[in-house]
C-alpha cells in the first residue's frame, strides 16, 4: 500500500532529511515510525501525503507514484488519507463538530450527511457530548482526539499520525493510542511516528530512522 524505493530528500546541499530509504507497508498494518527529533520521520510522512516530493527515488501510495502525481490529483490522494499532526491544527474559530465535518465538506458531501458522520466520529473518540465546544476549551488530549475524529471521518484507508502523543501526559496519550489501535483493528492501515519509546511497547512492527537513514524495521 505504501512503498519507498531508495528515497532521498534534500532541502539544501547540507540539509538531508532522508537518505536512500526503502520500505514497504502492507494494507491493514499498524506500523510505528520511531526515531529522535530530526530523524526524518515527519518528512517521510509528508511524502506519503504528497506534502513533500522526493529528491530522488520513488514513493508509491495506492499504486500512484507521488513524484509524478500532478497537482490536481493531490487533493484526491489526501482524501483517502487521515492526517493527524503533532499540533492538531484545529481551527479555533469554529466548534469541534465543524472541525470534524471539514474533510467531508471539502470533498463535497452534503452538510446534513457530513454532520451526521462527524457526530459518529466524535462519538468514537468519546467527545460527542462536547461537539459544540471550541478547540481552545478542550485539553491537549481532547484536542488530539478531535484531530483523530477529523482524520477518520472520511473513512480513510491510511491514517498517518505524526507524533500524536508528543505533548500529552501518559493517560491522554494512552487514550489517543487506544483510539488509533481501534481503527487499525477494523482494517485501517496506520503509520504512527513517535520519539517516545514507551509508545512502542508491544508494537508488532517498528521502523527506526536516524539522521534520515533506516536503521531497522524495513521489509
Amino acid at each position: 500500500m505504501i512503498e519507498f524505493h531508495s528515497v532521498s530528500k534534500q532541502y539544501s546541499a547540507d540539509a538531508t532529511a532522508l537518505s536512500d530509504v526503502s520500505l514497504n507497508i502492507e494494507k491493514g498494518e499498524l506500523v510505528y515510525l520511531a526515531g529522535p527529533s530530526g530523524a526524518g520521520k515527519s518528512t517521510l510522512m509528508k511524502m506519503i501525503a504528497a506534502i513533500e516530493r522526493p529528491s530522488s527515488g520513488r514513493v508509491i501510495v495506492f499504486g500512484q507514484d507521488i513524484g509524478k502525481l500532478k497537482k490536481p490529483g493531490i487533493p484526491f490522494l489526501r482524501r483517502k488519507l487521515g492526517l493527524i499532526f503533532q499540533h492538531q491544527r484545529l481551527l479555533n474559530d469554529r466548534n469541534i463538530l465543524a472541525n470534524t465535518m471539514l474533510p467531508l465538506l471539502v470533498a463535497g458531501a452534503p452538510k446534513g450527511g457530513a454532520e451526521q458522520r462527524a457526530r459518529a466520529a466524535l462519538d468514537k473518540v468519546g467527545l460527542l457530548e462536547r461537539a459544540k465546544a471550541h478547540p481552545l476549551e478542550l485539553s491537549g488530549g481532547e484536542q488530539q482526539r478531535v484531530a483523530i475524529a477529523r482524520a477518520i471521518v472520511n473513512r480513510p484507508q491510511i491514517i498517518l499520525a505524526d507524533e500524536p502523543t508528543a505533548n500529552l501526559d501518559r493517560v491522554a496519550a494512552d487514550k489517543v493510542l487506544d483510539a488509533l489501535r481501534a481503527f487499525h483493528s477494523v482494517g485501517v492501515t496506520c503509520l504512527i511516528s513517535t520519539h517516545d519509546e514507551q509508545v512502542l511497547d508491544g508494537a508488532a512492527r517498528v521502523i527506526r530512522l536516524e539522521h534520515g537513514q533506516l536503521v531497522g524495521g524495513a521489509l
Partner: protein
C-alpha cells in the same frame, strides 16, 4: 442537489460567514468602492438623460436667409434661382417663408400673440430656410462658410445665419464628455479592483491557517478560491447598489434646482433614474469588477502561499 451546486452553495455560505464575522470592515470597504463607483454612475445617469435631447436636435445645417426690411416680395422671390445655383451639387430643400407666415409662426410658438399685435405692422422680413443634408466633416463646414458668404452677397440680403453650429458644438461637447466619462470609469474601475484586491489579500492572510488545513484535508484549489471570489463579487455588487442608490437619491434635490432653471426656457426637463436594464447592467459590472479584483488577489497570494 448536484455536487457542483453544493460546492458553490458552500462557497457562498463561507463568503457570507466572512462578512458576518467582520461586518464593519465589509461595510467600510463597500463604502470605499461605492464612492469610486458613484462618480461614473452619476456621469452615466447625466449622459443618459442628455443624450435623447441632443439626438432630437438636428445636426444637419439649416441656413436662414433674411432680406432687408425694404426688400419687396418680387425681389425676394427673384433670388431663388440664384440660391439654387449656389447650392448646386448639394442636397438642399429650399423653403420661402413670407413675412406674414413668419409672424404667424412667431405668434404661435412664443405665445406673445397679443404683444405682437400691438406692433401694428409686421417687423419681420421675407426669408428663405434651406436644410442641407450630408454636411458633417470639417471640409463640409468650410463649404458652408463659402455658401453663406455667396448668399450674403446677393441683392437685398440682410443676414445669412447657420443654425446648426451650436447643435454641433453640443454634440462635440457630449462626445468629449462621453470620452472623459469613459476614462474616468476606467480609472475608477482600476481603483475598485485595487480595493477589492487588497481586501481579499487581507482575508487570505487572516484565513491562512484554514486554507493550509483545508489543503491538507483534500481541498482542491477551486474549493479554496471560490469563497474569495464570492466575497469579491458580493463586495462589488453591494458597492454598486449603494452607489446607484446614492445617485438616485441625489436626483431628487438636483431635479428641484434643474426644474427652476428649465422653467426659464419653458422646458420641463428632469433627470430621470436609469432604466432597470441599465441598473442591472451596472450592478453586473460592479460585481464583475469585484470578482476581477478577487481573482487577481487570490491567484497572486495563494500562489505565494504554495
Amino acid at each position: 442537489m448536484s455536487p457542483w451546486l453544493r460546492q458553490h452553495r458552500f462557497a457562498f455560505a463561507a463568503a457570507m460567514s466572512t462578512v458576518r464575522k467582520a461586518p464593519g470592515s465589509f461595510l467600510f470597504n463597500v463604502l470605499v468602492v461605492a464612492l469610486a463607483l458613484a462618480l461614473p454612475f452619476a456621469g452615466i445617469t447625466l449622459l443618459d438623460n442628455v443624450r435623447p435631447m441632443s439626438e432630437q436636435l438636428s445636426v444637419d445645417p439649416e441656413v436662414s436667409l433674411f432680406f432687408q426690411p425694404g426688400a419687396t416680395r418680387e425681389q425676394a422671390q427673384s433670388v431663388e434661382p440664384q440660391l439654387r445655383q449656389i447650392l448646386q451639387g448639394s442636397h438642399a430643400r429650399i423653403v420661402f417663408v413670407p413675412r406674414e407666415q413668419a409672424l404667424d409662426d412667431l405668434k404661435e410658438r412664443s405665445g406673445l400673440s397679443a404683444a405682437l399685435d400691438t406692433l401694428g405692422e409686421n417687423p419681420l422680413p421675407d426669408s428663405y430656410v434651406m436644410k442641407l443634408d450630408g454636411f458633417s466633416s470639417a471640409a463640409d463646414a468650410a463649404r458652408i462658410d463659402s455658401i453663406v458668404e455667396r448668399m450674403g452677397a446677393l441683392p437685398m440680403v440682410d443676414t445669412v445665419q447657420v443654425d446648426s453650429s451650436w447643435v454641433k458644438r453640443l454634440a462635440a461637447l457630449l462626445g468629449i464628455l462621453r470620452l472623459a466619462l469613459l476614462l474616468l470609469a476606467l480609472t475608477l474601475g482600476v481603483v475598485v479592483i485595487a480595493v477589492v484586491f487588497n481586501t481579499i489579500r487581507l482575508q487570505v492572510l487572516t484565513q491562512r491557517e484554514e486554507i493550509a488545513v483545508s489543503k491538507l484535508l483534500g481541498a482542491t484549489d477551486n474549493f479554496i478560491h471560490r469563497p474569495f471570489y464570492y466575497t469579491g463579487a458580493l463586495l462589488g455588487l453591494c458597492a454598486g447598489a449603494v452607489a446607484l442608490g446614492a445617485v438616485t437619491l441625489a436626483l431628487h434635490p438636483l431635479n428641484g434646482a434643474i426644474a427652476e432653471f428649465a422653467r426659464l426656457y419653458a422646458s420641463e426637463f428632469q433627470l430621470a433614474p436609469l432604466a432597470p436594464l441599465e441598473v442591472a447592467g451596472l450592478l453586473a459590472l460592479s460585481a464583475g469588477l469585484g470578482l476581477m479584483g478577487a481573482l487577481l488577489s487570490v491567484q497572486r497570494h495563494l500562489a505565494r502561499m504554495r
